[in-house]
């Protein structure tokens, strides 16, 4: 029998090794797997490379992981936030490596990893500082009169994502704009852990509406919906 339901966050994250590349979903308040990030902090893996759109807010979640010195490198598109002081301080004191990636390249490089693409040519960033790696320009090509930069996939050892509903085969649906990086990150990691607010019986999710088929998901952890920073609730409720 296939059963991807896991009883606890601790169990789902048990054997993440030092040096792992962790893809973490979420954009703003939507789709952030807060419980998994907190679990990673407790779990203890070090020397991590973290791929996320941002680089932490305030002092909790990803910012706490950074502050604990557990992350060697951030791969992200938008680290600067009004409350990104933890990242800012580490970056300015050169204690954290940053690979800044245009957001579309971030999404597409992750998707490419999931789809088995070796590399792809893309126009975004041509002629800019972000078409360079360590100060050296990446390969470019002119195709039908337009200029492109060669971009490589971003593979994850582990993806941590937040979905809405899931079943024991690992099929997932999302809620509103909380979908964001979830589907592509699920594809791109060797192991994908998703939190869901509801467990559906097998067959209980409309097959026409499943967004991430279970083939991309390794483990599912049920998290009660609470009025937390995870969002997805009405303040008045």
């Amino acid at each position: 029998m296939i059963n991807k339901l896991t009883s606890s966050v601790a169990q789902a994250l048990a054997d993440i090794p030092d040096g792992a590349t962790i893809l973490i979903g979420g954009f703003g308040t939507a789709g952030v797997p807060n419980e998994l990030i907190d679990g990673l902090l407790v779990q203890g893996a070090r020397d991590l490379t973290v791929v996320n759109n941002n680089a932490g807010n305030g002092n909790a979640g990803l910012a706490a992981l950074l502050a604990a010195g557990r992350v060697r490198k951030m791969v992200c598109s938008f680290p600067r936030q009004a409350d990104s002081h933890v990242f800012d301080q580490l970056y300015r004191s050169a204690k954290l490596e940053l690979e800044l990636v245009p957001q579309g390249n971030l999404a597409e490089r992750i998707r490419a990893a999931g789809a088995g693409i070796g590399a792809f040519f893309c126009p975004t960033g041509f002629g800019t500082d972000l078409a360079k790696t360590n100060g050296k320009e990446r390969e470019t090509r002119e195709i039908n009169g337009k200029h492109y930069v060669l971009e490589y996939p971003i593979h994850g050892d582990v993806a941590l994502i937040k979905a809405e509903r899931g079943d024991r085969w690992g099929n997932l649906t999302y809620r509103k704009a909380a979908r964001n990086f979830g589907p592509v990150m699920a594809m791109a990691a060797r192991r994908t852990v998703a939190t869901v607010h509801e467990i559906a019986a097998l067959g209980g999710l409309d097959p026409e509406s499943i967004v991430t088929p279970g083939i991309f998901v390794t483990q599912i952890v049920h998290i009660e919906r609470t009025a937390t920073r995870a969002g997805g609730f009405r303040k008045a409720a």
Binding site: A30, A107, G127, A236
Partner: protein, 213 residues
């Protein structure tokens, strides 16, 4: 001659006036977001948000916020009937694949031929952040910039050549400012309009660039 600058609301209304019925539009974070409040009545415009929304509506009433439904600036929004959600790679395929009619961005500098600098000042210790700016700038059918023409110290943000790190090359088609509206072309700037009381020669002096009228 005396002239009065366009207020932020007037500038947003000026941009909105050029957004055609049926357009699919991405409004960048900051000032461009205001354009949504000024779309002329009777025009149906679909707003795209890079985090995975088409058909974005206005901000919700207080206490009605849903923090799974936010815009690229991370503020709560609503969804119009007909709206849809999709993941990041699809959202950026819309942007990079030339499916958006117009994007409106802010800028630090724009060159007369449409080079854009809006992601990084390049200063020592500055935290860089690019987000979707490069994808939008090069991917939308038309990229428009909306900004004050001059910096606080009076320097023109329209320049011969950008000194800040580039976001894209030759990607800006129009620049809407508090003093005038320009088209950027391979041959340099062309004037579209300017505020009452401001002369073309006076405008030329302010920016120090050739302007075709």
């Amino acid at each position: 001659m005396d002239y009065r600058k366009r207020t932020k609301a007037e500038l947003a209304a000026r941009v909105a006036q050029d957004i055609f019925d049926g357009a699919v539009v991405n409004l960048g974070i900051g000032q461009p977001t205001l354009v949504a409040n000024h779309l002329p009545a009777g025009r149906e415009v679909i707003l795209h948000s890079e985090n995975g929304i088409l058909g974005m509506g206005a901000a919700p009433a207080a206490e009605e916020e849903d923090f799974d439904l936010i815009n690229a600036g991370k503020q709560p929004v609503t969804l119009l009937p007909g709206g849809s959600f999709f993941h990041h790679a699809d959202s950026f395929a819309m942007m990079r694949g030339g499916h958006l009619d117009i994007c409106v961005l802010g800028a630090f500098q724009v060159s007369e031929t449409g080079d854009l600098a809006n992601w990084h000042t390049g200063e020592q210790g500055a935290i860089p952040a690019v987000g979707g700016a490069m994808d939008l700038a090069t991917g939308a059918k038309q990229t428009w910039v909306m900004m004050d023409l001059l910096t606080r110290s009076g320097e023109s943000k329209l320049v011969g050549k950008c000194t800040y790190p580039l976001t894209g090359i030759g990607c800006v088609k129009r620049v809407y400012t508090d003093l005038a509206t320009f088209a950027c072309t391979a041959e340099g700037l062309r004037l579209i309009d300017l505020v009452d009381g401001l002369g073309v020669e006076q405008l030329r002096q302010l920016i120090g660039l050739r302007i075709r009228t």
